[in-house]
Amino acid sequence: MSSQVLEQQDYRLRAFMVGLRAALPLTLAIVPWGLLAGSFALEAGLSGIEGQAMSVFVFAGAVQLVVLGMIGTNAGLSAILITTFLITSRHFLYGMSMRSHMSHLPLHWRLALGFLLTDELFALTGTKPPEQFNRWHALGIGLCLYMGWNLATAAGIIAGQQIPNMEALGLEFAVAATFIALVVPGVRKVSTLCAVITALLTSVACELYQVETGLLIASLLGMTAGTASSYLLGEPLASQEDAA
């Protein structure tokens, strides 16, 4: 009995550690943005504690950077909250996609993994079917990103204006590399290819014309193109294996 318990604990720890390792490239990629969130908070007039609190509680890179810019220009609270809602609205899609993975978990797990459900966590877990979902693995990924984001914010607050210009390093390529590595093996059907190509073209077009909600528009158009083409081509209903 006790050896069984031990074995299970060992298995959980291993899943957790595999999650930590899987999240390392993406954690590296968010460091420059975390530094920026820290130094930018001071610039916007927040105290160090307030700047850190934002990363501790909100834990959403794009939202934090945009809102800090708005606070710096004395934007109103309602404008800040509407902007927050617009940027964060893609998370509704993540939640809906992860419903079959997570909604059966106990409340404390749902709260923890829901709080940690960033682009990166969704990328690493949502590309796999629900049967392969492991809560400890997901927790390892989420906490690795959370620690990285908060340590980088703290470093940005301490360094203040002296933060090195890490944008020139191009660390965001780690995001591109990881996401490509996750998406490509999942493209097994023509309809998925249609979704990917549509999302690619529309996201670049939106970026060119600086459409603020470009990410959401491109994602929804890509999903629509995938769905429409799967009906047109008469593809069978997505089996779980192809759900990536």
Partner: protein, 101 residues
């Protein structure tokens, strides 16, 4: 005021992440919605990736001198051939940093 802003932002972001994970939410995903959602990961991840790769400095850069584009093309090839996430990520990042310095 800053604290109120942080608290309300936290609420908005958390609700957007948690809402559909709540089993008591009366939402049954039919086959059409499930099919639509099955494209969420490839579509969203592509929409995040493409601007990084094609317009690293804010302008369209469809040139061989764009290290993002070349390394991304390598990543696509490696991911297709090996289907190994970490290997693909690490090798293409290595090539990127060599090209980028």
């Amino acid at each position: 005021m800053i604290w109120l802003t942080i608290i309300l932002m936290t609420a908005v972001v958390f609700v957007s992440r948690y809402l559909f994970l709540e089993p008591r939410l009366p939402l049954r995903l039919g086959p059409r919605t499930t099919r639509f959602l099955s494209y969420s990961a490839p579509a969203i991840l592509t929409a995040i990736t493409a601007p990084i790769v094609f317009m690293p400095d804010g302008d369209l850069a469809l040139e061989f001198s764009n290290p993002y584009l070349i390394s991304a093309a390598l990543a696509v090839a490696l991911a297709y051939l090996t289907r190994h996430v970490l290997f693909t990520t690490v090798v293409s990042m290595g090539v990127f940093f060599v090209m980028h310095v």
